[in-house]
């Protein structure tokens, strides 16, 4: 008998202590108020129970101490939110819980808006899409993690990947439907996955996008035959402004007359009288020449009316380091520097047969050259590689 009494006392003391632990976070006074008679009450209840010959233990009779504490607190009208929470946790609240609470408050406010309910019902219908997308995202992140981001593809390529994706979809949908992961011990798994997915959404989509672009360009290169040692042909949908030779934009033109002598200050127009320009940066950009160790910037020529002209070749300029910026931010040559002609590709071009002596083009007037030093009017059409120009 005495053993039984001792056991009961021990049980009661242990249970009461556990209940008090469950009330942690409340002021000591309130805990004392709520549990003053706890041991006596529990012992009485046990005694009654034994008299009724059920003989159930405390947990069977009252449930877990945590549940008992929660019931006590709820009935006493004390907020359960701060339950079982240390001072530390109150100072630094659980971010997940905070976010949940914030979201709930936001939802309440949104539901007060007239436009929200139809929007919400629309979004709710779309929820399964998110469930599938979520599974796909987990696969992408896992792939990037395990194999590296270069292995990411919009759709799985291997059978095993399809299997994994299918499994993830099942997990995700079952969680979304509230069928799985509802117990306290496993709930963090999908919550964590959700957070990771939301954070990873933009990076993953961005990576995929740039991947598919790379894949496209590699495919185009392959299609153009460049993998078989051939040169790559680039098909441009849009016409490129400027002059293009062999797929490369030209920055400057060098003009030679029929005898092969270099010409300075040649104005070039297309067949509709539009100036043929090679640069469109108005002097801001830098251009590298073969075998030069410093980039150059160009300056325009001025015509008789004072307008800047960029279709006078060769463009003159100077190494970029000799430029400075004026008050308007426009590049100007430093005092003491003068614009010169960039290095010529060669001092003399091969002379033309049978055309040299009389510059016939002067009379037909299709091309005019400004009167620079050593400029001889000529037709540079042979040298110009099919210029494309837009107005």
């Amino acid at each position: 008998m005495s053993v039984l009494v001792d056991m009961t006392e021990l049980d009661v003391a242990g249970y009461a202590a556990a209940v008090r632990r469950g009330l942690v976070g409340l002021p000591q006074e309130q805990v004392d108020d709520l549990t003053d008679d706890l041991e006596a009450d529990l012992a009485d209840a046990l005694a009654d129970e034994r008299r009724a010959a059920h003989g159930r233990g405390l947990v069977e009779q009252f449930g877990t101490p945590e549940a008992y504490a929660a019931e006590l607190r709820a009935a006493a009208g004390l907020p359960p939110a701060d339950a079982g929470r240390s001072r530390w946790e109150r100072l630094f609240p659980d971010p997940v819980e905070q976010t949940t609470r914030l979201g709930r408050r936001l939802l309440v406010r949104l539901r007060a808006q007239a436009w929200w309910p139809p929007t919400e019902s629309f979004l709710v219908v779309l929820r399964p899409v998110w469930w599938v997308l979520r599974a796909w995202m987990v696969l992408q992140i896992a792939t990037a993690w395990v194999f590296g981001s270069h292995r990411m593809t919009w759709l799985p390529t291997a059978f095993a990947e399809w299997l994994v994706l299918g499994g993830l979809v099942v997990l995700s949908v079952q969680w979304g439907r509230g069928a799985w992961f509802q117990s306290r011990s496993t709930r963090w798994v999908p919550v964590l996955a959700n957070v990771v997915v939301v954070i990873g959404l933009l990076p993953v989509l961005g990576t995929m996008q740039s991947h598919s672009r790379q894949v496209d360009s590699v495919y185009q290169a392959w299609e153009a035959g460049s993998f078989n040692g051939g040169s790559q042909t680039v098909y441009q949908d849009k016409p490129v402004d400027g002059v293009v030779v062999d797929g490369i934009q030209v920055s400057n033109l060098f003009v030679y007359d029929a005898q092969g002598n270099p010409l300075q200050d040649v104005q070039v127009y297309d067949d509709r009288g539009r100036p043929v320009r090679t640069t469109f940066d108005n002097g801001y950009d830098q251009f590298w020449f073969p075998e030069s160790d410093e980039p150059w910037s160009f300056v325009p020529a001025a015509d008789a009316d004072g307008r800047s002209r960029w279709n006078v070749y060769p463009l003159r300029g100077a190494p970029t380091s000799q430029f400075e910026y004026d008050a308007d931010g426009a590049p100007v040559l430093q005092v003491g520097s003068t614009a010169g002609t960039p290095p010529w590709p060669f001092a003399k071009a091969p002379a033309l047969a049978g055309r040299g002596e009389l510059p016939a083009s002067v009379t037909d007037g299709t091309v005019s050259a400004s009167g620079g030093p050593g400029a001889t009017p000529t037709a540079p059409a042979d040298v110009l590689p099919s210029p494309t120009s837009t107005p």
Partner: protein
């Protein structure tokens, strides 16, 4: 029907009625509620309710020392508690009457 849900709304009233009958300590109140036929009530709910009614000023409390057992905290009703009990009793009777009429016509139909 799950009577625990119904009980939640009227536990205050039940506890007030029991204490108004005679002062009592925690488990005593539980026992008297059970004897009155309210079986599903949880002990902790009753203790919490007593505590809350005391905090709101509807009950008085005093400790009775005991020679052979633990000291017991007794609860008794005061004027404010009686007024609350009267008001809630009226509300309950009206509500119960309304429900009875409603359910009565339901069964006739």
């Amino acid at each position: 029907m799950d009577t625990t849900q119904l009980l939640k709304g009227v536990l205050d009233l039940a506890v007030l009625a029991v204490v108004a009958d005679e002062d009592g300590y925690g488990y005593d109140v539980v026992r008297r509620l059970r004897n009155a036929g309210i079986e599903e009530v949880g002990d902790a709910s009753v203790y919490g309710t007593l505590r809350r009614l005391y905090s709101s000023g509807a009950l008085t409390s005093y400790v009775v020392p005991s020679d052979e057992g633990p000291h017991r905290k007794y609860y008794g009703i005061n004027a404010q508690g009686r007024a609350m009990l009267e008001a809630q009793r009226k509300d309950w009777q009206e509500f119960a009457g309304t429900m009875a009429r409603l359910l009565g016509t339901e069964t006739v139909r």
